[in-house]
């Protein structure tokens, strides 16, 4: 608890805001990569308190939002099979595939269970040797260690009935994609603190150099976010483009080497489609061939499934920082958390959901 109250201290928050106001002399567009940061900003109304020179745009760091529709459809196809217990992080339950979500699959008789950790899924596999247990292994670098650990644990236990449907993505390739996009407006980044807890921040220096953008590793509490913004503004005003760490209580330059080692032991870099954005080279992880026995796509023959999305919402532009949720004509009318048109409205980390939940009638 100590860590919560300290980093939400109103006096210190106003002190940092004042320092940002003193430092800034011109408009800057800064992207927070992570959906968790977007929500912290909106929930605490930090955007209302910042000087008008700072325009925050919201990045693609919401794992639920960017999981491609094919993977959702594959998940539903597997989850509908009578021999399968399909396990998933809670947030994935409501994400629409081509024509339904996992809640609908469950209502139609599928055995779909929310778990808090993939290791719980392994436990379910141990307890149900006659059933096939599948875990929907999605996420960024943050969830990767636990997801690969479940595979390693299943292997150690000799489980024949456990597999994972992998849809992993990585932050640095997405930053390349955003910065090299012709319409890019982003001039500085708050890098995602939890991703860097695992990966460190050694991967970011080439990006800062190549595109001349400051990148500041940033946490999730109000003080963390403002400290990250202050450091980014300092760099922008001083025309520096370096990688700095505003989250040293958790993040080191090297990151968690043991976590990185097990990720590399089980996963391999691969091209990955991002929902709403498109295919980004080497932006994902998939299982190494030696772990193919644990690949649910192979086990249930869904690897070739193809799906198409219909063009209605602007989630793609929002995830790239080109538009804001309020720019969308459907926002808050046809598209709400109960009737989401896009994944950004579904996830508790999605930018549209954050806007809808905390500020839609205020601005």
């Amino acid at each position: 608890m100590k860590y919560l109250t300290e980093f939400r201290n109103p006096e210190l928050v106003h002190g940092l805001l004042e320092e940002i106001r003193r430092t800034i002399t011109q408009p800057w567009v800064i992207m927070e990569i992570c959906g968790g940061q977007t929500h912290a900003i909106m929930r605490n109304g930090l955007d209302q308190l910042l000087p008008s020179e700072i325009e925050l745009v919201h990045g693609p760091g919401c794992p639920v939002c960017v999981t491609p529709i094919e993977q959702i459809d594959k998940a539903q196809a597997i989850a509908s099979r009578p021999e399968v217990i399909f396990t998933s992080y809670g947030d994935m339950m409501r994400v629409p595939g081509s024509d339904r979500d996992l809640f609908s699959v469950r209502a139609a008789g599928g055995d779909v269970r929310v778990v808090y950790s993939p290791l719980d899924a392994v436990k379910i596999a141990q307890e149900n040797p006659e059933r096939q247990v599948v875990f929907f292994a999605i996420g960024f670098e943050t969830t990767a260690p636990a997801n690969v650990m479940s595979v390693l644990q299943a292997k150690t236990l000799g489980l024949q009935n456990y597999s994972v449907l992998v849809s992993h993505v990585r932050v640095p390739p997405a930053m390349h994609a955003i910065l090299s996009s012709p319409g890019n407006r982003v001039q500085g980044f708050l890098a995602a603190g939890h991703v860097c807890t695992v990966m460190g921040y050694w991967e970011y220096a080439p990006i800062a150099q190549k595109y001349h953008v400051p990148i500041v590793v940033t946490g999730f509490e109000p003080l963390d976010i403002l400290q990250g913004l202050l450091m980014t503004v300092h760099q922008l005003e001083e025309k520096r483009a370096e990688v700095e760490n505003a989250y040293p209580r958790l993040v080191t330059f090297e990151g968690n080497r043991s976590a990185q080692n097990i990720i590399n032991q089980v996963f391999l870099e691969c091209d990955r489609k991002w929902r709403g954005i498109g295919s980004i080279p080497a932006s994902g992880w998939c299982l190494r061939p030696e772990y193919a026995d644990y690949d649910a796509e192979i086990r249930f023959s869904v690897a070739e499934m193809k799906s198409t999305e219909s063009p209605i919402c602007i989630a793609g532009q929002i995830l790239q920082g080109l538009c804001k949720p309020i720019d969308c004509p459907a926002f808050g009318s046809q598209c709400t958390p109960e009737h989401p048109l896009g994944a950004t409205m579904v996830s508790s980390e999605g930018a549209c959901a954050a806007y809808y939940t905390y500020s839609r009638r205020l601005s």
Binding site: M42, I69, R106, Y116, H176, G278, E338, L341
Partner: protein
């Protein structure tokens, strides 16, 4: 890594909307907007009458010139059957007693319907029934009729209990979600989120131990003390959907804006820590022994004092006030001086909890 080719940008793409209008899904029971949608589309058109349309926790009817009755019903399907601070039996009594009390009525009589699954241990049923009797005695109500059905193994989860209750509304009391007026103050009877998090922790699925007790309690004596002390416009117990959803219901029914102060809403440290770990907002977590009261400003002092003198109102505080506009909205002043919307719970964010 730094020399990757340009990605292929597809342009705007998006999936189709999912309205969940063809099949019941778990979110329809969340107490949030999906539940409201179900009521509006299915139940209200079929059963339509002025009492039902009032949309309060209990239906208020006047069978003759002198008596106004409040009637309510509630089904309980909580799992596990026993959890820290309570069990399905205590919940079944308190849930209905509180729904009746929230119309300002004195609850008097309850009925109880049991749906039992084949194979249920008799000792479990005994324990639940004893707990019901204790809770009924505490509330001062009598269970005067009942029903039992047994279903085949696998067709239910242990036992489900439905209770209905009736109470008499005292003269001069007119309490409804539609009675909030600009200038009124909002009182919350204590810290929030205990019941939902206690049940979740009791399922043993959180991966950590949390010493959280459910707050399940009968609130009728607290309500009586409040009505003795002053005028009350609105009462509501923020159960499923939590404080945020109940405040939104009131704001919509009364066509007012309710603004609350972030730092005045109390959450126990253990509840807060569990919520933080799971990414839940305590504003949306169920309570079973708390109430929200909306009262004229002149009566605040007397009512708060009366609440503090009762067992379940000791920690009552003013958390906000009622304003004219924006109508139908709940806003929160954050600890940093900014303002944000507090919305209704949309669909299911948690496993079923009551």
């Amino acid at each position: 890594m730094s020399d990757q080719p340009l990605p292929v940008m597809q342009g705007p793409v998006c999936p189709l909307s999912l309205a969940h209008q063809t099949q019941i899904v778990i979110g329809h029971g969340s107490g949030g907007t999906m539940s409201h949608d179900l009521i509006t589309r299915i139940f209200l058109p079929a059963f339509d009458n002025p009492t039902l349309r009032a949309n309060d926790d209990a239906g208020v009817v006047q069978p003759n010139q002198v008596t106004r009755l409040a009637i309510s019903t509630d089904s309980h399907v909580v799992w596990p059957i026993f959890f820290p601070g309570g069990d399905i039996g205590r919940l079944a009594i308190c849930g209905t007693v509180n729904d009746v009390a929230m119309s300002g009525a004195t609850p008097l009589y309850l009925t109880a319907g049991f749906i039992l699954e084949e194979g249920l241990e008799m000792v479990v049923l005994n324990k639940v029934v004893a707990s019901m009797q204790l809770a009924a005695a505490e509330a001062g109500v009598h269970i005067i009729a009942g029903d039992t059905k047994v279903v085949q193994k696998g067709k239910a989860d242990g036992l489900y209990i439905n209770t209905s209750g009736v109470g008499i509304i005292r003269d001069g009391v007119n309490i409804s979600g539609a009675e909030a007026r600009p200038g009124d103050m909002v009182i919350l009877s204590g810290p929030i989120g205990n019941h939902g998090m206690a049940v979740l922790a009791a399922r043993g699925e959180l991966g950590f131990q949390a010493d959280i007790q459910s707050d399940v309690a009968p609130l009728n004596h607290l309500v009586a003390a409040m009505l003795d002390a002053g005028q009350v416009h609105v009462l509501r117990d923020p159960t499923r959907g939590g404080l945020a959803t109940s405040l939104n219901e009131i704001a919509r029914q009364s066509q007012v804006c309710i603004t609350i102060q972030e730092n005045s809403v109390q959450v126990q440290p253990t509840v807060n820590a569990a919520c933080e770990m799971l990414g839940f907002d305590p504003l949306y977590i169920a309570n079973e022994g708390k109430l929200i009261a909306i009262i004229p400003p002149g009566d605040v002092k007397a009512i708060i004092e009366a609440m503090h003198a009762t067992r379940y109102g000791e920690e009552a505080v003013v958390i906000g006030e009622v304003q004219q506009a924006p109508q139908g909205r709940v806003l929160m002043k954050t600890n940093f001086g900014s303002t944000r919307i507090v919305d209704m719970l949309a669909g299911e964010i948690l496993p079923r909890i009551c």
